[in-house]
Amino acid sequence: MSDVILSTRNLSRSFGALKATRNISIDLRAGEIHAVIGPNGAGKSTLIEQISGGLRSDSGTVHLVGRDVSALSTQARARAGLGRTFQISALAMEDTVLENALLGALGQSGRPWRFWRAAGEDRDLRARATAALERVGLAGVADQVTASLSHGQRRQLEVAVALTLSPRAFVMDEPMAGLGAEGSRVMTDFLDGLRGEAPILLVEHDMDAVFALADRISVLVYGQVIATGTVAEIRVSREVKEAYLGEGA
């Protein structure tokens, strides 16, 4: 399939005796939001780390835009076009919001070895950083210290930094975590529009968001994908209900 942007094949990773992920094969196609759902400890974040290069896989491969990136470092995968956000915000808390976005722009430019001119005075970096902040609605707090942001704003900044990279594929670990109803709605609307730019592999617990956004859903239980399908298919799958959604869902 030529329109597959990101794919994993038989990815596995164990922690001691615990098999956190088992033979995971997932495709992310151009223009889609592919949600990965599953109970706590199912291995979702582990999968994200394996895709983005933070964790070595015991076996399996990751392809990005047709290229095998399995052996590449996190930095190299980012440069190859992977834009990833963290479940727990990983931001430079002492720095301003703008500086965090500038860092992304700097990574995208690939030229950090400049020592004399101030980063904030570099027009290209600044334009890219402020554009990303504007898109997530953080332009007004650009000069605030990141530590002073609310939890929701930090989630938005996570996404903004990924935007500065202009990635070929987004990989997002629970961008709605802890956002509240209104915050989730805003983020949902935003991600909805984003899929046209680059497809999103979306790990998310918020089922309203998942059902509203996902083109396809993969269900992860005990490290294994037990089902992949459209929202309608997953909603009616008995297997999924038993294993994950439970009686209440």
Binding site: T74, L91, E99, P112, W116
Partner: protein, 327 residues
């Protein structure tokens, strides 16, 4: 609370005022003290690049200070004995020229920082502190046993080395030279901190994962910071040796590495002028209290303790009301 810019300006002005006053009052020893403070400050400004921006707690920066010192000592020794340094395949003439000595000091300490950085940056936290300490001890014991250059007794240089157009034996002229070098180091820190490299390095200290995720290599950023840092401290070492006209293994000692960290903590970690305030206070205490009691270090220790407990941003943090970066 006072803006950091004003404090910085005041500190530099004060630093200049003291020797100028001393010149007017004909107190050459005070000029020498100010020179000592400038040079120690410069060594700590170098360390502050690695420590304050990059978060690299190096307990081995005396290596670079000492290498700078011995670069001066060895070149000047060969010049004063008129015997070239014979490496077998290559004979190096000695030199009494500061520019030549400085280039040598910077090159040698940058290379040493590259090698030490490559090995020690694989570790973090306490292990990084320990491995840099271990390198420091290696150089210390090597210099003690290197009898060709005085071993434990060190090496005296009888006449201060020269700088074109200056009489370096005149205290105020040598002060001017050292103060200018300090200002150059401060300018470097200032520009570096605001530059794309400094921004990335500062982020690599806080969240290396984030830096990787945007496609940058935090290790390379830190390695380069360590090299620049070592080179600045190395140059300060060469000036320190010229100030004393003497080099000895104490320049390599871990106490010296520790003192550089203490200077920075007292002034304010990662703050542009932190090392300058720290060094000025250190030399003042050493001079005034040192004259009264042999145990003046106790007072220094007490100040350090108070700052660590109550003022994480050091003296600059107290004055500005803003905490500095966390290391």
């Amino acid at each position: 609370m006072i803006g950091e810019r004003y404090i910085n300006g005041l500190v530099l002005a004060g630093f200049l005022a003291v020797p100028i006053w001393a010149l007017a009052m004909d107190e050459p020893f005070t000029i020498t003290l100010a020179t000592r403070a400038s040079v120690l400050a410069m060594a700590a400004v170098g360390l502050n690049i690695a420590l304050g921006i990059g978060g690299l707690v190096s307990l081995g920066h005396a290596v670079f200070f000492g290498l700078g010192g011995y670069a001066m000592g060895i070149l000047a020794h060969h010049a004063q004995t008129h015997a070239a340094l014979d490496l077998g395949f290559l004979a190096i003439e000695g030199s009494r020229s500061m520019p030549v000595i400085w280039i040598t000091a910077v090159t040698v300490s940058a290379l040493a920082a590259l090698l030490i950085g490559l090995l020690s940056l694989r570790t973090t936290g306490v292990y990084f502190i320990m491995i840099t300490l271990a390198f420091g001890q290696m150089f210390f014991f090597f210099s003690i046993s290197w009898s060709a250059y005085g071993g434990e007794d060190g090496l005296s240089i009888y006449v201060r080395n020269g700088f074109p157009g200056l009489d370096t034996l005149v205290p105020i002229q040598f002060f001017g030279l050292c103060f200018t070098a300090l200002c150059a180091a401060l300018l470097l820190h200032w520009r570096l901190r605001a530059s794309p490299f400094g921004m990335a390095l500062n982020a690599a200290r806080q969240v290396p994962r984030r830096v990787e995720t945007v496609g940058l290599n935090p290790m390379r950023l830190k390695l380069l910071a360590f090299v620049v840092s070592g080179a600045v401290t190395g140059l300060a070492g060469a000036l320190f040796a010229d100030l004393n006209r003497f080099v000895s293994p104490t320049m390599f000692s871990w106490q010296l590495s520790g003192e550089l960290i203490v200077l920075i903590i007292i002034g304010g970690v990662g703050r542009l002028m932190g090392p300058v305030i720290g060094a000025a206070l250190f030399v003042a205490l050493e001079h005034f209290l040192g004259g009264l009691t042999d145990f003046w270090h106790v007072w220094l220790g007490a100040i350090l303790l108070l700052i660590v407990l109550f003022a994480r941003g050091g003296l600059i943090g107290i004055l500005t009301g803003k905490d500095g970066p966390r290391v």
